[in-house]
Assembly symmetry: C2
Homo-oligomer: 163 residues x 2
């Protein structure tokens, strides 16, 4: 590997978290952190890699996978399934956000509900647990839609634990 100039600029929120948690900050991790910090959509790993490459084309896909996995383990990132065959990498935020997914178009809208959040805390408590986080997807069709509840598409989901 040839020498490479460290990228410049302020640290992203994610980079800050890495330092706080004692994660070694390499140049490629910095790029991934930066790209993710600037996202206002929900990229999957391949898309994330595409964007990362625009900053530094030499960063390998496997590095992105490894970085995301590491930061997931550290509680900094989360890989989230949005159903309908989509998944994304997102920053873990304190209260979290949820997604409304339009079935026909695939359009995604983020939303939050403190009421739901509080109910969830209560449910966990009542069952003897403490809530760490949650994921909620709301699948919808336009209000005027006449059609029934026919699914848009099958979607696969591939699971398994990573090390």
């Amino acid at each position: 590997m040839k020498h490479r100039q460290p990228i410049s600029g302020d640290l992203s929120a994610i980079e800050r978290l890495c330092i706080d948690k004692g994660v070694r900050v390499t140049n490629q991790r910095r790029v991934v952190a930066m790209v993710l910090s600037e996202c206002c959509d929900q990229p999957d790993i391949q898309e994330l890699h595409r964007r990362v490459r625009k900053v530094d084309p030499r960063i390998a896909l496997s590095t992105v996978y490894r970085t995301v996995r590491l930061l997931c383990n550290k509680g900094i990132l989360n890989r989230r399934n949005l159903g309908m065959g989509r998944a994304c990498v997102e920053r873990i935020s304190d209260r979290g956000h949820d997604y409304l997914v339009e079935l026909q178009s695939g359009k995604i809208v983020e939303f939050r509900s403190n009421e739901i959040y509080r109910l969830l805390v209560g449910i966990a408590q009542r069952l003897g647990y403490r809530m760490v986080r949650h994921e909620l997807q709301l699948y919808v069709v336009p209000a005027d839609e006449t059609c029934g509840s026919v699914q848009r598409d099958p979607l696969r989901t591939r699971p398994k634990f990573g090390n």
Copy 2:
């Protein structure tokens, strides 16, 4: 393909739905429907195939994939991601159910909340949509747990649209 005796017995709830929706009922689909109707856990595709094979060992994995995809499209089944690297095939039920997932052990508890359900309907409405269904996972640790919100494990999620 050699001739094969149709399996006997009453129709499962899922088979009933297939007939109603005009889905051609083949012997292998009947087996998949039956196995799923009898599940009281959350099997993934591979596990589903394993159980299907116990009934008829000649049913191929690809058939199970195709059947699940078809029934998802018909709004009879749903493939659901439980986070932490697990996904499952489940029957779509009217109001739906949600999952509480214990992060350490991976234990899964189903729950329902009418309050949350109502809130979701309202949220969709307010945004100009009609809710078709939702998915909600609640990740927890035992109440007495001292540890923070460190993630259990990275997990992959593989998305993509099917046919």
